[in-house]
Amino acid sequence: MTAVQAVVLVVVAIVGTAVVLARDPARQALVASVFGLSLAVLFLAFQAPDVALSQIVVGAVALPAMITLALRKVQRREEVKRGGR
């Protein structure tokens, strides 16, 4: 096991814990994006460039976008309810 792989594995474990510990979903979307990027670096270190490419575009772009949009839909409904429609 190379030093790069060991370091990135530890980073992935730490960021993964941070994703779970971030209770606010809006903040969690950003931490999830960082988690996706660190996973992509890990996959590169494991000599799997295809998987790293997939993980970068999905974990850093598509997934946080979907989380943020779902959150926005929910907040919009709460705003409308509180606004007294």
């Binding site: 295809d50 598509a62 979907m66 409904r77």
Partner: protein
């Protein structure tokens, strides 16, 4: 069951699971010593038999093509499920739809708009390149499809909509998704008709390293790319109240 009780039960269960996981994983071959012959066989057969250089793409679309067919249809079904859930909601009421006059989040930042607008074309070309070269270098339909989706998302971030003349972009994306999914399955059926087995190769292989090599892998890459791009765009469009691809207030 109260939260504290649930946490205690989880604690006990997690300890047991952790012990079992460690015991099970310790029985695996040591890291880096994996000696699976099937994988090595496939890797060594890639260039001689399929004339394509990316072993992973050949494994995905040729040697294990039926698995990819199944995964692709999971994606298609999930996208259909999302559309059913979110569109029924829209038909029921209109209170959660953002009125057209609400300012777009990107409207304040000229920097964001200019950078997003400038990046649309390069990202689009990158996506097409990754889809087309899937059998030669790392890449392929799945990765390229998501990159193509990002190009269209950048259009939204640039504060504008996709104009496609008189065609409706949302319909175009739905058609793209359906074409991709059907294309993959139908290419398999052509394999039956022309070569004797489902998803069997029916195109000649060509020279190693050229763009038109690898049999029907480039075609499968294109259909998967269309499907992934269409599915993700339709889903994102639905989450954005159909504002991603077209103006909501105009027909």
């Amino acid at each position: 069951m109260s939260r504290r009780l649930r946490l205690c039960v989880f604690g006990v269960g997690a300890l047991g699971l952790a012990a079992l996981l460690v015991w099970g994983l310790a029985g695996l071959p040591s890291f880096g010593e994996f000696d699976g012959h099937y994988g090595q066989l496939l890797a060594h057969m890639t260039v001689p038999e399929r004339k394509a250089t990316s072993s992973i793409s050949v494994t995905t679309f040729d040697f294990r093509g039926v698995d990819t067919l199944g995964e692709e249809f999971i994606l298609f079904t999930a996208a259909v499920g999302i559309l059913v859930l979110l569109r029924i909601q829209r038909v029921g009421e209109d209170v959660a739809a953002e009125p057209a006059r609400v300012r777009r989040p990107a409207a304040d930042s000229k920097t964001l708009q200019s950078i997003a607008a400038a990046l649309v074309a390069p990202v689009l070309v990158l996506g097409l390149y990754i889809v087309a070269h899937g059998h030669l270098t790392p890449g392929g339909g799945f990765q390229g499809g998501v990159i193509l989706m990002t190009a269209f998302l950048l259009i939204y971030l640039a504060g504008t909509h996709l104009h496609m003349g008189r065609a409706r972009p949302l319909d175009a994306m739905e058609i793209s998704e359906a074409l991709g999914a059907a294309g993959f399955a139908l290419l398999g059926i052509r394999g039956i008709l022309l070569a004797g087995a489902y998803l069997q190769n029916f195109i000649s292989f060509g020279m190693v390293g050229s763009l038109l090599s690898g049999g029907d892998i480039p075609l499968l890459n294109v259909s998967v790319g269309l499907e992934v791009m269409g599915a993700l765009l339709v889903v994102l469009g639905e989450l954005l109240d159909q504002r991603l691809l077209m103006r909501r207030d105009s027909r």
